[in-house]
């Protein structure tokens, strides 16, 4: 913790405060959520069918999607041509878009505000996303440079009274978080909740979005999730990242797509698939009881079992205590 606090300015996270939070957060007994784990061995498989079946298992279908404007928010963090484990794979984005289109969505957009690169176009081109967006005729919104709206911070776990958000978020019916399944050297894991750092506009928060680091990464994740209130998550775990994520880690083929409406439930399921204890990931522990359930017995797992699909993602030494036992 000392090392993390050093760079991020977490400062205010006193041990007693965290203990109080954890007592409160254990009260998630009235919360339940369903999470779908779908086997997807490679990007060459029929991802559209896998996602359609997975969402259907969650009772999401045409009746709910028809007529909606849907924003897909992938994780495009850096321009990397030779490291496919860094960014959400373009074919996962395309397959998700085609599912929503086939169910009658009025419009499907893709939006992202990369945290490490001011030149969003470069990230799109280097990640292969630009070609897929063009082929699939998908409109892209650069959330770093969108018009801004100031909104009240929905949770106030940080000291930030308001959050500046891209105006596009207020113009869509659904926001779908489409992260990569990765370890993260400050946050432990980066999944559907941490992915939402990418909606925060760089023109207001900088590159990197250092304001949120100083406000506290875990607490910022909670505030953003509570304020943006995404409707769905589809996690690209076909090839994830282990070790020194979110940028410099190694590829880790996990062969899964994980889906669900409740983001803490989805992310804690992903953590278990990575053999990481979600209770030892600060933002997940803090989310419990506030934003959703993370306890295994409060999450209804559909599709594949965690036991069959999990594999141990490598962890940096300072997160080694987060490894699930057994």
């Amino acid at each position: 913790m000392r090392r993390r606090r050093f760079l991020t300015g977490l400062g205010g996270l006193a041990a007693t405060g965290l203990a109080t939070d954890l007592v409160l957060d254990s009260q998630e007994r009235f919360q339940r959520a369903a999470v779908m784990i779908a086997s997807a061995p490679s990007y060459g498989h029929d991802l559209e069918s896998i996602i359609r079946s997975g969402l259907s298992e969650l009772d999401i279908g045409r009746a709910e999607v028809r007529g909606k404007t849907i924003l897909l928010k992938p994780n495009l963090v850096e321009p990397c041509r030779d490291a496919p484990q860094v960014n959400t794979h373009p074919l996962v984005v395309r397959a998700s878009a085609e599912v929503f289109r086939s169910w009658g969505a009025r419009r499907v957009l893709v939006g992202e505000g990369p945290g490490h690169c001011r030149d969003t176009r470069l990230v799109l081109e280097e990640s292969g996303m630009a070609d897929v967006l063009a082929e699939a005729r998908l409109e892209f919104i650069d959330l770093n440079h969108d018009d801004l709206e100031l909104v009240l911070n929905g949770l106030r776990r940080t000291k930030l009274s308001h959050l500046a958000l891209p105006a596009t978020l207020g113009k869509v019916d659904w926001i779908v978080s489409l992260p990569k399944m990765k370890t993260h050297h400050w946050a432990g894991v980066t999944l559907s909740m941490k992915n939402l750092f990418g909606v925060m506009p760089g023109v207001h928060y900088g590159w990197p979005k250092n304001v949120l680091h100083h406000a506290g990464i875990a607490r910022s994740i909670l505030d953003i999730t509570a304020t943006v209130r995404p409707h769905l998550a589809i996690v690209d775990g076909i090839v994830g990242m282990e070790g020194d994520g979110p940028i410099m880690g190694s590829a880790c083929p996990a062969g899964v797509l994980v889906m669900g409406r409740n983001l803490p439930a989805v992310d804690s399921t992903c953590a278990r698939l990575m053999r990481i204890d979600p209770w030892r990931i600060e933002h997940l522990a803090l989310a419990s009881g506030r934003l959703g359930p993370i306890a295994a017995n409060h999450i209804e797992q559909r599709g594949e079992s965690i036991g069959a699909m999990s594999r141990a993602f490598g962890l940096l030494e300072h997160f080694s205590s987060a490894r699930m036992s057994g």
Partner: protein, 266 residues
């Protein structure tokens, strides 16, 4: 509208949103952050006049610095750079990063502040943040002992800032030049190509192939109607001007006529 008329209109608008403290906010929705102040100052300098706004912007820049941090035993390897140096942040109260530091240095050097201690420290910061192997990214050369990847945009703007401070030809500059010469031929994104070529030109390393890089980036840029920043950088790079020449008539090169016409139309 003639280009200079449009620029003067933009300068007047920027003056109208300048805050009493001298900063020019990045959005009309909020009063901060003010990293855009250096950009406004460069426009006012280029057009000439605008002394009162320039003075207030310069004072604000000199007062604004990134947060310094302290290093405890064993922590140097976490950050990979000297966290005690201060340049300029994107947002007040946060750490210093490459682009706002470089832009502030470019603007302040053009104001005659080349020897100001803030500029001198900013130059030290830029050099300290250079990535082993060549170039810069947003400002993190390494984390947890792992060297991070350079990017052409920050590399270009850092090279321009070093040139604005004074002629320098050392291994940091040479490695950055080499990185750009390796990476730019395969990149078509306007902002990255524009800054990359400007960085090379600032160190007299404009290669003969650069015109074709700019043309290819311009072709790609035309597909995206929201590419004003990219187009502006391409035009600037194609003009053959250095940043210290101000905004005036540019030296047109064959093959970039379409790009200039497109810029004027917009």
């Amino acid at each position: 509208m003639h280009g200079e008329d449009a620029a003067r209109q933009a300068a007047s608008w920027l003056a109208s949103v300048q805050r009493p403290d001298g900063s020019v906010p990045s959005s009309q929705v909020t009063s901060a952050p003010g990293w855009t102040t250096a950009h406004a100052l460069l426009l006012w300098q280029g057009l000439g006049g605008c002394e009162r706004m320039r003075h207030r912007a310069r004072e604000w820049l000199l007062r604004t610095e990134g947060r310094r941090q302290t290093v405890e035993d064993g922590e140097r390897g976490v950050a990979g750079h000297d966290v005690g140096l201060a340049g300029w942040p994107w947002v007040a109260g946060t750490h210093s990063w490459i682009e706002p530091t470089a832009m502030a240095i470019i603007a302040l050097c053009a104001e005659g502040d080349r020897n100001h201690p803030r500029v001198v420290e900013g130059i030290r910061l830029i050099r300290d943040r250079a990535i082993r192997g060549g170039g810069w990214n947003y400002g993190n050369p390494a984390v947890f002992g792992r060297t991070l990847r350079p990017q052409p945009g920050p590399t270009g703007v850092a090279l321009v800032a070093l040139a604005a401070y004074g002629p320098v030809d050392d291994s940091i500059v040479a490695q950055a030049r080499n990185y750009l010469l390796r990476s730019l031929p395969t990149i078509h994104s306007a902002i990255s190509v524009g800054w990359g070529v400007l960085g090379l030109a600032a160190h007299q390393a404009y290669p003969s192939e650069a015109d074709s890089w700019l043309e290819a980036a311009h072709e790609r840029c035309r597909e995206h109607r929201d590419s004003t920043v990219g187009l502006s950088l391409l035009l600037r790079a194609a003009s053959g001007q250095s940043w210290t020449n101000g905004i005036g008539e540019s030296r047109a090169r064959p093959g970039i006529g379409a790009m200039r016409a497109e810029g004027i139309k917009r």
